[in-house]
């Protein structure tokens, strides 16, 4: 396969990238890890006339803890995050989600920022961003803004990122002390895109009741979906199978997942029901009582 023709740019600094994006607007596409973009080019589903390769840009990599968040340079490889002690200690939901992304050789190239900016509705990292309340740092030649995950993901392949903006950093908050987290996914084969995936968080109060719960589903809508009704229903509940079954019912009540070649919508809905319960059980089993 041959990609469409494009002009290739390999800038060294963020300023150079922003200059190129300002100049070429929606005719330019940023190339990060390339694990989604290169196939799209090969199949000619994307036809940018300018490809801005950010792999040689200084200052876009690294994982650092500051002010209660773990900050990822947008070009940080998924495999690096997977092996990071900081991530496994502070962001267990991300540590659980990362191994579900493609395969090792995909994660060796694929980047944190690339997956989030690409915003595939079935991708894991957007769900991690959504459940943790991550913030995305977007730079343009004239401005820098910080956008919450809630506002960032707008639909399948659609985000708040403007044509002249570059996602430079992803800031992921650590979440409540003692909270239990889980990420569960059902896919036809290991490494395939999820049919349904669920990120869950359960935090308990001093009496062992649910103080806060969070749920985020992928595979059931055009973006990662927080389930506020189910989250609210769990607050104050005893963590029990009954409570989680009821929450799962609440979570799927208004879902109308799409049917496609991978399965009918009803099947996805049933998978969501089961996966929500399992992920809540897993999260609760990892939660410590608040002291």
């Amino acid at each position: 396969m041959k990609t469409p023709r494009f002009e290739y740019h390999a800038p060294r600094s963020v300023e150079e990238v922003l200059g190129l994006l300002a100049e070429h607007g929606d005719e330019a596409k940023v190339l990060a890890g390339g694990q989604s973009l290169v196939p799209l080019l090969a199949m000619r589903l994307a036809r940018p006339t300018h490809l801005v390769d950010i792999n040689n840009v200084e200052g876009l990599t690294g994982i650092a803890e500051r002010n209660g968040v773990v900050a990822f340079g947008a070009l940080t490889r998924e495999r690096e995050a997977e092996g990071s002690a900081l991530v496994s200690r502070q962001l267990p939901v991300m540590a659980a989600a990362l191994p579900h992304i493609g395969h090792i050789s995909i994660r060796n190239r694929g980047t944190i920022g690339g997956s989030i900016a690409h915003a595939d509705a079935l991708a894991e990292l957007p769900a991690v961003a959504r459940i943790t309340g991550a913030e995305m740092v977007l730079k343009s030649g004239t401005d820098e803004r910080v956008v919450s995950a809630e506002d960032f993901f707008q639909g399948h392949f659609t985000t708040a990122l403007g044509d002249e903006e570059l996602l430079t950093e992803v800031r992921v908050p650590k979440g409540p002390a003692g909270a239990g987290w889980a990420f569960e996914e059902v896919a036809r084969r290991r490494g395939d895109f999820a049919l349904v995936g669920v990120a869950a968080m359960v935090a308990l109060d001093g009496t062992g009741r649910v103080e806060e719960a969070r749920l985020c589903l992928i595979g059931v809508a055009d973006r990662p979906l927080r389930s506020s009704a189910a989250e609210a229903a769990l607050v104050g509940a005893e963590p029990s199978t009954e409570a989680f079954v009821a929450a799962a019912e609440e979570a799927v009540r208004d879902l109308r997942p799409p049917s496609d070649i991978h399965g009918p919508g009803d099947y996805r809905r049933q998978l969501a029901r089961v996966t929500v319960r399992r992920s809540l059980e897993a999260a609760a089993s990892r939660a410590g009582k608040a002291s």
């Binding site: 396969m1 002009e7 694990q35 390769d53 792999n55 090792i104």
Partner: protein
């Protein structure tokens, strides 16, 4: 738009002119004549084109050749030492870890990377690491056996030398 790509392949400095849209896989095969790297799906699903980039397994169909500039690429041609097969190749041969052989370069490169990182993987770890490589002869049992044999022969230690 054509540019020269220069980088080290199997320890040798190589250079050739190519259209910037040429993938690393096509560049290795068509410009450098290294046809040991196979192309199956050409969109990152089958794993046949796996090579090592600075010692790490990547899919050469999902990279442009110009992106390899300044990096070290290892292909299946770089494993054997003259007539002496690399321990991973030897173990695959002894286990009959291939049938038609089309997917073999990808499996061998992925295994080499796996054993460098984890010289004694469990069968489950092997299956996870190889989950991104497809064998349409479905010779997976003997491929996994080949990896186990390579690990027990100390291929991981040899590979990291």
């Amino acid at each position: 738009m054509s540019e020269t790509s220069e980088f080290d392949v199997n320890g040798q400095h190589r250079s050739a002119e190519a259209d910037v849209r040429m993938t690393l896989a096509d560049f290795l095969r068509e410009r450098l004549g290294l046809t040991g790297t196979h192309l199956g799906c050409e969109h990152g699903v089958c794993g046949a084109c796996t090579v090592l980039l600075d010692g790490v397994a990547v899919r050469s169909c999902l990279m442009l050749a110009v992106q390899a500039r300044g990096h070290q690429v290892t292909t299946v041609e770089g494993l054997a030492d003259g007539d002496q097969l690399h321990p991973v190749q030897q173990a695959f041969r002894e286990s009959h870890g291939f049938q038609c052989g089309f997917c073999t370069p990808g499996f061998v490169m992925m295994t080499t990377a796996l054993l460098q990182e984890n010289p004694h993987p469990s069968e489950e770890e092997i299956r996870d690491a190889l989950s991104g490589n497809i064998c349409r002869c479905t010779g997976y049992q003997s491929i996994v056996e080949g990896v186990l044999r390579a690990a027990s022969s100390g291929a991981g230690a040899a590979a990291s030398n």
